[in-house]
């Protein structure tokens, strides 16, 4: 496939030539410092200098609350020494960095720029938990939802209850299946030196942890995290001369939906189904072609529902499939080998770029002890807000 078509325009093929990422967790660094560390690592990985980069797209959600910092993107470009380039902050809740990557993809594919940096940064741990919980709930409709005291876990908790009701699954069974997602992602993170948690957990740990929003317990939930990740994109023709193993972006998708109260069935994420379709269609791939996937497991039920929405398992079957280990390293579709948002951590403005970081390492066979052998086609999935925004990328070597 020499050229991609999107919206009727002939586009250039685009590849990833460099990736960088901080450790996730509590970092004691500012957003600028974290992103600069990730950005420098990506430049080094690509063998490029800051002056080579022509534009910066960066995901960030809460710098205003975390540090009292607005207009973040020019601070990042300036700190990295990427002087005077256009620098744009993109906010789409937890999907922000994937949106930034998709923007960068389109600008490179269009021919407007050759070398573009995209990524994200977030310093959620600078906020105390009650403020962090409130800012995360700002993804809900501020007029008609947030005033109920709904939280981000609360939204997915309602999804879990509806899932149990819809498929006639005893809640106890669903909770055990959900717990298996947390156990698996913690297991995967043991092999990820950049993950927030390096601790194996048991089903019992999950089921005895504090209740956050019924039926979600603490270990059903991803943590608050600090961290940053950066990716450098280039036209494929140029990428081949820059690096040994460029990773092609063969499909991108993005879609949106209305506030949660407009969703006909909260066990189905329609924005994801549309976004994933675009990505599969553009890449000429189907779910069966995907060797490895980093998806949005902000909560254990979210991973189950995502494996269904992306087409890996039938609707209503994702829960049992998770319990059967079908999304483990040796399963039919290895999911979240990085540890996912659950155990690698979820600095929300950076997550999409961190997912691409992991898939890139896997496709280049540089993932060390967590390498999935023979992975050639990978996918990322990033969900933002109350099922309102989704972005998918398909990557290939």
């Amino acid at each position: 496939m020499a050229q991609n078509c999107q919206g009727g325009l002939v586009m250039r093929e685009v590849a990833i030539v460099g990736v960088g990422m901080t450790r996730f967790g509590r970092l004691e660094m500012t957003n600028v410092e974290m992103f600069s560390v990730a950005g420098k690592e990506a430049l080094l990985d690509a063998g490029l200098a800051p002056r080579d980069i022509q534009a910066l797209f960066v995901g960030n959600v809460f710098a205003t609350f975390e540090e009292g910092q607005s207009n973040l993107a020019p601070f990042l470009a300036s700190d990295l020494g990427m002087k005077h380039i256009p620098a744009i902050r993109i906010e789409g809740a937890c999907a922000s960095a994937s949106l930034a990557l998709r923007e960068a993809f389109i600008w490179v594919a269009s021919g407007a720029y050759d070398l573009v940096m995209a990524g994200g940064t977030e310093r959620a741990l600078a906020m105390e938990t009650p403020l962090a919980t409130r800012t995360f709930a700002m993804g809900s409709d501020s007029r008609y939802e947030a005033s109920t005291g709904i939280t981000f876990p609360g939204v997915f908790a309602m999804m879990a209850h509806r899932y149990a009701y819809k498929y006639g699954l005893p809640l106890k069974t669903l909770k055990e299946h959900m717990a298996s997602v947390a156990v698996q992602n913690h297991l995967h993170a043991l092999d990820n030196p950049k993950a927030q948690f390096h601790r194996a957990i048991t089903t019992e740990d999950v089921l005895t942890s504090p209740m956050i929003a019924d039926p979600l317990q603490l270990y059903d939930c991803c943590p608050f995290s600090d961290g940053a990740a950066a990716v450098i994109l280039a036209p494929f023709d140029q990428a081949r001369h820059l690096v040994k193993k460029p990773v092609r972006i063969t499909g991108v998708g993005q879609a949106s939906a209305g506030p949660l109260y407009t969703h006909p069935d909260i066990t189905r994420v329609l924005a994801r189904e549309r976004s994933a379709y675009q990505a599969y269609h553009q890449a000429g791939r189907t779910p069966k072609d995907i060797d490895i996937c980093e998806l949005h497991d902000c909560f254990t039920i979210a991973q189950i529902v995502a494996t269904e929405g992306l087409g890996f398992f039938d609707f209503g079957k994702g829960s049992q499939a998770a319990a059967d280990g079908e999304s483990g390293r040796k399963g039919t579709i290895p999911i979240n080998p990085s540890g996912g948002l659950k155990a690698k951590g979820h600095p929300i403005g950076a997550t999409g770029a961190a997912q691409v970081y992991e898939i890139t390492q896997q496709l280049r066979e540089e993932a060390g002890s967590r390498q999935i052998p023979g992975a050639k086609i990978g996918m990322t999935d990033t969900l933002g807000g109350d099922l309102m925004i989704c972005c998918n990328l398909i990557l290939e070597v």
């Binding site: 309602m158 039926p215 209305g258």
Partner: protein
Amino acid sequence: MNYPLTYQQFVDHFKRGKLLGLKCNSCQAITTPPRISCGQCGSSTLDLMELCGKGQIESYTVIRAAPEPFHPPYIVCIAKLLEGPRLMGNLIKVSPEEIDLNFITRNVRVGYKVSPGDNLSGGERFSITFELC
């Protein structure tokens, strides 16, 4: 063109006892909370109508870790109104320890609650409530 039913108008009417929605002239679908376009077909030819204020619980959660300035535990539900649209609200007069999956499909009546706002709430907080009926 005017916004057919602003947030403030919706709230003011509800405080006077009327839960309003918008009926689409093209497809007859009913939309609430209000917006400028029909939730079904996107048409902007919408007529104000009063809703009966009754619905059925579709899902729920008990919030036990709350954002500031809320005090847990409390119940949040999504209910589907008889006329079709859905609302998110707090189920009141039910203990958080009492609710379980059997409450899904229970009938509720829609009410509201007003609490003081703060720097980040854009004015007073108006929220939907549900009571079993």
